[in-house]
């Protein structure tokens, strides 16, 4: 069938080429022949294939929409760097507080206790600094809450995106750098600190070592 329609269109075009004077009727006639030929071509398409293409087009449209909702640029340029800065600030403030507390403890340990009054004054002064240093806990709590909020924000968007595209987890690393990192982690048995109650206790460790 396509060969026949192709021949009809070619015949009409060749007819026009051989004419010196082409009228509007000729052009309309060619258009009609073309439309007829296309109609027969479209009719020849399996309606199932058409339906498949339509579904693919809708899927692409939905995916584009979900990528937009993911707001990946916003996450990358704003939320993730901000969370990183908050965590860095937590590390800095806890380190500063720990250093202050240790300095006080060291000063108390080294203080001359033979002069009772002076010793008492030193202890009192250092204790006040320790109390002040402990105020970091309130600020770090707030900073960590912001990081948790960011993680929840990312989680909800990624979950929505994954559900929309029917994503399945790959068991392979995302890239070569990640692969290298995971390999090293496995070789060096780097699990990091365990959550409360999840790791082995000191008693369990002693039993393992002595068993």
């Amino acid at each position: 069938m396509p060969d026949k329609t192709h021949a009809q269109v070619r015949e009409a075009v060749d007819g026009l080429r051989n004419k010196d004077d082409i009228s509007l009727i000729d052009v309309l006639s060619l258009a009609e022949t073309s439309i007829h030929s296309m109609k027969s071509f479209i009719d020849s398409l399996d309606s199932k294939i058409y339906s498949e293409f339509r579904e693919i087009a809708e899927y692409i449209q939905n995916t584009k929409s979900e990528i937009g909702h993911l707001q990946a640029n916003d996450l990358q340029s704003k939320h993730i760097p901000e969370a990183g800065m908050e965590l860095s600030a937590v590390v800095t403030s806890t380190e500063e507080a720990t250093t202050k507390i240790m300095e006080c403890a060291e000063a108390i340990l080294e203080a001359d206790s033979s002069n009772t009054e002076a010793y008492k004054q030193t202890v009192n002064d250092k204790m006040m600094i320790i109390f002040e240093a402990c105020s970091f806990q309130d600020i770090t709590g707030q900073r960590i809450s912001k990081v948790v909020e960011t993680l929840e924000h990312i989680e909800s968007r990624v979950s929505r995106f994954a559900a929309a595209i029917g994503a399945e987890d790959s068991d392979k690393p995302a890239n070569a750098k990640e692969e290298k990192r995971l390999k090293r982690k496995k070789e060096q048995i780097l699990n990091g600190p365990s959550q409360e109650g999840k790791g082995v206790s000191q008693d369990d460790i002693d039993a393992l070592l002595n068993g």
């Binding site: 380190e95 720990t98 250093t99 240790m102 403890a105 060291e106 340990l109 060096q188 048995i189 780097l190 699990n191 990091g192 600190p193 365990s194 790791g199 082995v200 206790s201 000191q202 369990d204 460790i205 393992l208 070592l209």
Partner: protein, 127 residues
């Protein structure tokens, strides 16, 4: 046998705060000759320069972990007998088993206290 408090001790940790904590605890226990290193590579270099009577090392450090340091120490003829205590937040059974297999003398899980540090040092020196 009492622990010889004059032995040189090497503390290996990538966190200065933790080094300071362990240094202070060791000082309170009576140890006077304490050096430190920020990772396994630096520690190994120091151990080849000076004979240490005890190494107290963290596990998770870069570029050389405490686990790698322990294995390097145990395969080096000049260092293999050095008492080695791992002080780490790595608290999975597989970590303890791997450390034991590599020849660790004792294993302390963070956070820890002075009494635990003292008891493990005592245990290493057979008290």
């Amino acid at each position: 046998m009492a622990v010889d408090l004059s032995i040189p001790v090497l503390v290996v940790d990538d966190y200065k705060t933790m080094i300071r904590i362990i240094r202070n605890l060791l000082k309170q226990l009576g140890f006077s000759d304490v050096d430190d290193a920020a990772d396994g590579t630096e520690a190994l270099g120091k151990m080849k320069q000076k004979k240490y009577g005890l190494v107290i090392s963290d596990w998770n450090m870069e570029p050389m972990t405490g686990y790698e340091l322990l294995k390097e120490v145990r395969t080096d003829d000049g260092l293999s007998r050095t008492p080695f205590i791992m002080v780490t937040a790595e608290s999975k059974t597989e970590n303890v088993i791997a450390a034991k297999k590599a020849g660790v003398n004792n294993y302390i899980v963070k956070p820890f206290n002075a009494a635990t540090l003292k008891s493990k040092i005592d245990a290493v020196f057979g008290e």
